[in-house]
């Protein structure tokens, strides 16, 4: 059962992710340098800092918690050839992430609707974890 805060996240961010138009992608490109449907505070240069910190190799498994529409986890998968699992609560975001996985042919990556409180994975399933502005 989602908590009150999680219901708020689903509603607030679901509303944002359901707005998808050329002008919103143009805006995202101008601000973050990305085109994933992101609306946060992680520009491309900081996604590169995350990549440096993670030091992932091809084929290693990355978990991105609270990934929205897949940024930055799917970008990291594309850059490093790691296998990413991106998770978040709003269905609209995870649907966008699945579309991106298909279009980028990230065949070993996936998008999972899940709360960060109860992630549906066995211990030691991942080599690294990333998240951007989830704890805040």
């Amino acid at each position: 059962v989602p908590t009150k805060d999680e219901v708020d996240v689903i509603q607030r961010f679901g509303r944002r992710y359901s707005v998808w138009a050329p002008v919103t992608i143009e805006l995202e490109r101008a601000v973050l340098g990305s085109d994933y449907g992101a609306n946060g505070y992680t520009p491309l240069a900081q996604a590169e800092l995350l990549i440096n910190g993670l030091a992932l190799r091809a084929g290693e498994r990355l978990l991105d918690v609270g990934a929205g529409c897949g940024w930055p986890g799917l970008y990291i998968a594309n850059r490093t050839r790691c296998d990413a699992v991106v998770t978040d609560l709003p269905m609209e975001g995870m649907r966008r992430a699945r579309e991106r996985i298909r279009s980028d042919q990230l065949t070993s990556s996936s998008a999972v609707i899940s709360t960060a409180r109860h992630l549906p994975f066995r211990p030691e399933s991942f080599d690294a974890i990333v998240h951007a502005d989830v704890l805040c």
Binding site: D5, D8, V9, R15, R16, V19, A21, V23, T24, E26, L27, A30, V31, L32, N39, Y41, T42, P43, A45, Q46, L49, L50, G53, L54, A128, I129, V130, H131, A132, D133, V134, L135, C136
Partner: protein
């Protein structure tokens, strides 16, 4: 593990802390020290880098770039969501400028 997070600045008065919480994202209220949280979860070699300047630049750029596309954005997202987002960005930028909010990059490892 590598992550970015928005925090309230340390040592704020109660009134400034309330302002920071109102201006920041919902969970910015979390008061636990991230270093202690990471250590208690078994992480070590914890490094923290301040990325607040970039945070302010990004919030300001969201505001300015959205303003430049105001008519088109209002048409696709509606007036209420557009105004809500711009108001959030305006308040957040002011709080960062006043030193109430900051953003950090953490890198931590498990044994």
């Amino acid at each position: 593990m590598t992550f970015l997070t928005i925090l309230t600045a340390p040592g704020l008065s109660r009134s400034h802390l309330r302002e920071a919480v109102r201006a920041g994202p919902p969970a910015v209220l979390a008061q636990r020290d991230h270093h202690a949280l990471l250590r208690s979860a078994g992480f070590h070699s914890i490094e923290e880098a301040d990325v607040t300047a970039g945070y302010l630049r990004t919030v300001r750029t969201w505001f300015d770039q959205a303003s430049a596309r105001e008519a088109q954005l209002r048409a696709v997202m509606g007036d209420a969501l557009f105004d809500d987002r711009q108001n959030d960005r305006h308040i957040q930028a002011a709080a960062i400028e006043r030193g109430l909010l900051r953003r950090s990059l953490f890198v931590a490892h498990v044994a």
